[in-house]
């Protein structure tokens, strides 16, 4: 190895590394704007692919399904369209499982691989990435950007800034419109916005998202992760010694020291203290201080940067790598499926997924409420029988009219009146109707006896067979 290090080409590379990083490494103390250096490598590439997830978010509202918007949260009509499934507020219990699932996935993934969500998927990270890339195109590399920051306002600075803000504003606008598009017809929304006829709610939401995106991704950036997002603060309780985090291998790297041209200093470890890892960090963390820092979003770009440097100085890659605390200590990591936390999180997640899938596939076509008339509880009829009245509130959740038959049982000789042989329920509507039951007093054993209504569907596409308990009162 020592011979290779004397290679003049490598020495040249070392010089270059120091030159590149020296000017713009910055440990984030919150006061200065971070201008991360561009980096390429394995983890950077992964990040590029995770963008696609959010491209999906932007395009999805325009997808049509069965002649209507595929995903639509129709708040005024209290319906949630998910492809061919329509979810009503009556089925909202599934939302709790969705929330449990998301929480468990977050906990589980954090237990396995730390804040990978932050580093790769979080909209704050992705949008900031986009905004920084635009900044890079318009204002140049970090050194140039810093120069421009410090420069007095002149024609060039104003032109560059305005251009940058304009592109940022476009992205922010699309972000806002996309969000609104999930709640209203996406195509009509564009028309409404450009003819200035959108609803006030649309404007307010749009403005909120526009300002939020512009401010958070353009200016606050890592400050959002550091001071606004609670995840950074609670991550340490979700991470254990088995979680793999981007870790600086201090045993290999320390003591760090400057590699000099053509000289190997045996007293130094592998870290050549070039500070590239700090320079590329989007949140301005020095990963060498600790693997678990509140500022670290675990995106792995420091790994890419360090690997690059290690290659140039002919040292093995992986001075910084995804590693668990145990691995760094030389202990083998137990298999993922043998770790109790992972098993528990996975089990709860699996249960939630099952509940949601079963729920979605078995959404009852009707939501029925039967209310016994309270005032009066009963009325006496001319043939001496007792009559009880019930209000039926049946919401037909299907897009077709549904024919049902209602029958009652529980008392000998009970007679039902008020509805015909079949009741036709209008699609997506709830129209209450009254049903009366009549029974002779001697058949009603108690002041209040249970009775049962059965609602049966009549040869429709949807199978309906529901049974509801209610009561029958007598004097």
């Amino acid at each position: 190895m020592s011979e290779e290090k004397n290679n003049p080409e490598n020495s040249h590379n070392i010089e270059k590394i120091y030159n590149e990083s020296a000017e713009h490494f910055d440990v984030n103390l919150g006061g200065k704007k971070i201008h991360p250096k561009k980096v390429s490598g394995r983890f950077r590439n992964y990040k590029n692919f995770t963008w696609l997830f959010w491209i999906g978010y932007i395009l999805l509202p325009y997808l049509r399904w069965d002649g209507q918007q595929a995903i639509l949260f129709d708040v005024p009509h209290r319906q949630f369209h998910l492809f061919s499934i329509t979810v009503y507020p009556q089925d909202i219990w599934m939302l709790s499982f969705l929330l449990i699932l998301l929480a468990m996935m977050l906990f589980g993934i954090t237990a396995i691989a730390g804040r990978v969500f932050c580093g790769y998927f979080c909209f704050q990270t992705v949008w900031t990435d986009w905004f920084v890339q635009i900044e890079r195109w318009i204002e140049g590399n970090p050194t140039q950007r810093k120069k421009l920051d410090a420069a007095p306002w002149g024609a060039v600075k104003i032109r560059k800034r305005l251009f940058k803000y304009f592109i940022w504003a476009l992205i922010s606008l699309i972000t806002g419109i996309t969000f609104v598009a999930y709640f209203t017809d996406a195509y009509q929304l564009w028309i409404d916005i450009f003819t200035l006829e959108a609803h006030l709610y649309v404007w307010v939401t749009l403005l909120t998202f526009f300002i939020g995106t512009f401010l958070f991704a353009g200016f606050m950036r890592e400050q959002v992760c550091l001071w606004l997002c609670p995840y950074a603060r609670i991550q340490s309780v979700m991470i254990d010694k088995d979680s793999i985090l981007p870790t600086y291998d201090a045993r290999r790297g320390e003591p760090r020291g400057k590699a000099k041209k053509g000289v190997i200093d045996a007293k130094y470890g592998d870290c050549i203290d070039c500070k590239v890892c700090v320079a590329v960090c989007p949140t301005g963390v020095d990963i060498r201080n600790s693997a678990l820092q509140e500022g670290c979003i675990m995106c792995g770009v420091c790994i890419d940067a360090c690997d690059d440097v290690m290659e140039k100085v002919d040292k093995p890659r992986g001075l910084i790598r995804y590693n668990s605390e145990k691995e760094i200590e030389g202990i083998d990591l137990p298999a993922v499926y043998k770790r109790p936390r992972v098993i528990v999180y996975a089990a709860i997640s699996l249960f939630s997924i099952t509940a949601i899938v079963v729920g979605l596939l078995n959404i009852p076509p009707l939501a029925t409420t039967i209310i016994h008339e309270r005032q009066p509880l009963y009325a006496m009829m001319s043939n001496g029988s007792i009559r009880n009245s019930y209000t039926f509130k049946i919401l037909n959740k299907t897009p077709e009219a549904v024919d049902i038959k209602i029958s009652a049982e529980g008392i000998d000789g009970i007679v039902m009146k008020g509805v015909g042989e079949t009741v036709t329920l209008k699609p997506n509507r709830l129209i209450p109707f009254n049903v009366q039951l009549e029974a002779m007093p001697d058949k009603v054993k108690d002041k209040k006896v249970p009775i049962y209504f059965t609602i049966t569907g009549i040869d429709g596409d949807v199978k309906i067979s529901e049974r509801y308990e209610n009561f029958f009162a007598r004097p």
Partner: protein, 283 residues
């Protein structure tokens, strides 16, 4: 942050208690900004909304917002939703409304106040009536008929039953009372039927004692009692009649006419309501 705020570098106010110094750190910038924004908002609010009380009045604010205005707007908004339905009800006949479940539901819900104002005082909030005093509207027994047109007439023109007082001896009254009570469960004796014929009751109540809706005479063979089912009440009805001027102890039962008080449309809606309470008959 930690280094920037390091205690040793920050000047203090000179106050020190038990080694704890009061530093001159400014409050966080976001807090300061929010503070000044709030102060600006106070001024903006005072300009926009009614705010400063004057001797007899108050400042109105530039957008002219008032609480009652907001209320009226909300009512107008609600009315705008109801109006097409109300207009449609106006054009429909009572029978058409009854045949349309959606309009029937709307009519019954929107007629609640009308029913409460005009009918509920006697007939109860849901037509439950008061036993012996005011008729129950929920049952299937009608003195003057339960078809849509009968009910409409009853509401518009009112009703006043008329049963003469019967100056009979006690034995006959007792016999008739027994007969009427027994007839309600279908157990009347031949002796009773004979007394019924002899007293001339059939003239109004019919040969089969099932009453006559054109006269408003009660059906004596059903289980519904207009003036109470106990022996004493029945006897009183036979003895002193119903609505007899100058007869002490006569039963009173008058339905006032609403034709002058309510519009034709309101009467139609109330007809629908009463008909659909459960006892409505087809024409």
């Amino acid at each position: 942050m930690a280094e920037k705020n390091s205690q040793n570098q920050v000047p203090d106010t000179g106050h020190e208690w038990d080694g704890i110094r009061e530093l001159t750190n400014p409050p966080p910038r976001w807090w300061t900004i929010a503070f000044y924004l709030s102060a600006i908002w106070v001024v903006v609010y005072f300009i926009i909304y009614p705010s400063i009380p004057l001797a007899t009045d108050h400042t109105k604010g530039v957008i002219g917002w008032t609480a009652i205005g907001e209320y009226k707007e909300a009512v107008a908004k609600n009315d705008a939703i109801r109006q097409p339905y109300l207009d449609k009800l106006e054009t429909m006949s009572a029978q058409e409304i009854i045949n349309d479940p959606e309009m029937l539901n709307f009519a019954n819900s929107s007629t609640k106040a009308l029913f409460g104002d005009n009918c509920a005082a006697c007939h109860g909030s849901n037509g439950q009536g008061i036993a012996g005093m005011f008729p129950v509207l929920l049952d299937d027994d009608w003195l003057f008929g339960g078809t849509v047109s009968d009910i409409a007439t009853s509401i518009a023109s009112g009703r006043k039953g008329n049963m003469p007082a019967h100056d009979l001896d006690d034995a006959q009254i007792n016999l008739l009372t027994d007969f009427v009570i027994a007839a309600s469960t279908g157990q009347a004796t031949q002796e009773g039927w004979d007394a019924y014929q002899a007293a001339g009751c059939f003239a109004c109540h019919g040969a089969d004692a099932k009453g006559n809706k054109w006269m408003g005479s009660a059906n004596l063979t059903d289980a519904i009692w207009r003036f109470g089912s106990d022996r004493e009440s029945v006897m009183r009805t036979i003895k002193y009649g119903v609505n007899q001027d100058g007869v002490d102890g006569t039963q009173n039962g008058v339905m006032p006419a609403f034709g002058d008080k309510l519009s034709e449309n309101d009467i139609k809606l109330l007809t629908v309501k009463v008909w659909s309470l459960g006892g409505g008959q087809s024409e």
